[in-house]
Amino acid sequence: MAFLNWLESLSLSVWVHEGTSIWAQPTVMTLHTMGMGVLVGASWVLDLRLLGISRGIPLSSFRWVFRAVAISLAVNVVTGVLLFMARATLWGTAFPFLIKILLVVASAATLLPIRNYVLQSDPEHREVSSRAKMLALLSIATWAAAITAGRLLAYTVAG
């Protein structure tokens, strides 16, 4: 708790939380939402391909997804940390927030085996293993759950 208090009292945290500038909380939040759209959207597109939509695209052509995911994940970690710092004592002690973070971590974790599978796939081979399909389903579900948990934080914790 002392750490959370300290975090929240930093001038950066105070600026994000109380700053009247459009660049403070409004912009940080907006960037966090844009990052979410790209991160989850790009992941879902690859998941859909693994599940058989647009089969004509070779899996190896989906390398851009991992770059898009890396960039948007970086944006959301930075903006997420800023939003956490702004109200550290609130988020740091809220159980629903912990659930959201665990769901984000779980979703991102599904991308690692999916990435290995895609990078090692044979460009001529169009069938997808059932394990990869299960991972794709899991990825779709965990991202959806993470978004749900995140959106509901505005009502369960910060409301």
Binding site: M36, G37, G41, W143, T148, A154
Partner: protein
């Protein structure tokens, strides 16, 4: 510079309100002639017009709601007459959006498989006929607002009986309706973002060797996200119209939504990319400019939406 909200919305409504009725007549006429002549190409033109009309029905409805808020307390204007007009227009809007949605699926199918399924074109035409009838009634009721001398009996209805009031009641008073709709809105935006990112990146040269038609296979998933967000977005708007009707970011959001909608149509109808089945097609400058416009429009829609509480005054 005058703010976007300082336009005379009543006048914009008087301009736009003709689009759903006259537009439906045009689209229906094209479809009818296409049926008689058995002209598949003309059917597609009819569906394209229908999609454009369905898009423009959104600002037609919204400017009407804004005009209502300005007019309701004026002497000589019956708030009940406006509410009745607005409620019928909301039904008409709903039918029109379903017609436009099914019409778009038919267009996409025609692009993908060479021709649209008869059932889909027929369903879309049928929905358009219903939308037209309801919209014509809405237009008639709209005329009664300013021209009671034309013989329209001013309705006597309890304001709680209107569809808009019922929706608003649920959205405001239910503990879960608003949060659940917001959650769906965020899921929908992610889906649309991902699909359009993939398609626009292909146009810009990523996945160069993949045939455009294969990437385009994803577009209905983007349209699904767009549809979910239109539904949930309308629930917010009908639920709490006063949060939006004089909010500058909201107007910009609708402007960019029209751009994004036009881009959906463009992506469905443009031909040269479609001729490519071997991945040999490379986009020219205009196509690339369209891809940038599309991505910019979607980021702008999100920006305006997220900034509603900060630049506007929602919540």
């Amino acid at each position: 510079m005058p703010s976007i909200t300082s336009f005379n919305l009543e006048h914009i409504h008087l301009l736009l309100n003709h689009v759903p009725t006259i537009g439906s007549v045009v689209a229906l006429g094209l479809l009818l002639v296409a049926y008689i002549r058995r002209d598949e190409g003309l059917k597609l033109v009819g569906l394209e017009v229908l999609f454009a009309i369905a898009l423009l029905t959104l600002p037609a409805y919204m400017t009407g709601v804004a005009a209502f808020q300005k007019l309701r307390d004026e002497p000589g204007v019956s708030a009940t007459a406006i509410r009745l007009h607005q409620d019928v227009a909301l039904y008409g809007f709903t039918w029109m959006e379903f017609a436009g949605f099914i019409g778009w699926v038919a267009l996409w199918q025609a692009r993908r498989h060479g021709r649209a399924a008869r059932g889909l074109v027929a369903t879309s035409t049928g929905l358009l006929i219903v939308a037209f009838i309801v919209m014509a009634r809405a237009a008639n009721l709209g005329g009664d607002i300013r021209h009671p001398e034309l013989g329209g009996a001013v309705a006597t209805m309890d304001s709680a009986d209107f569809l808009a009031s019922k929706i608003s009641n649920v959205m405001v008073n239910s503990p879960w309706a608003w949060p659940a709709s917001e959650t769906v809105h965020f899921l929908g935006l992610s889906l649309t973002f991902g699909v359009l990112l993939a398609i626009n990146l292909r146009i810009l040269g990523v996945m160069r060797r993949v045939p455009f038609a294969e990437v385009h296979r994803l577009l209905p998933w983007g349209m699904l996200g767009f549809g979910l967000n239109l539904i949930t977005g309308m629930l917010f708007f009908v639920g709490q119209p006063r949060q939006y009707i004089d909010s500058a970011p909201f107007y910009w959001k609708i402007v960019f939504l029209m751009v994004a909608g036009a881009n959906f149509l463009y992506l469905t109808v443009f031909r040269k990319a479609w001729a490519d089945t071997r991945g040999a097609w490379t986009a020219n400058g205009t196509d690339k400019a369209m891809a940038f416009v599309s991505m910019f429009a979607w980021l702008a829609i999100l920006y305006c939406g997220r900034m509603l509480p900060f630049i506007g005054h929602a919540f």
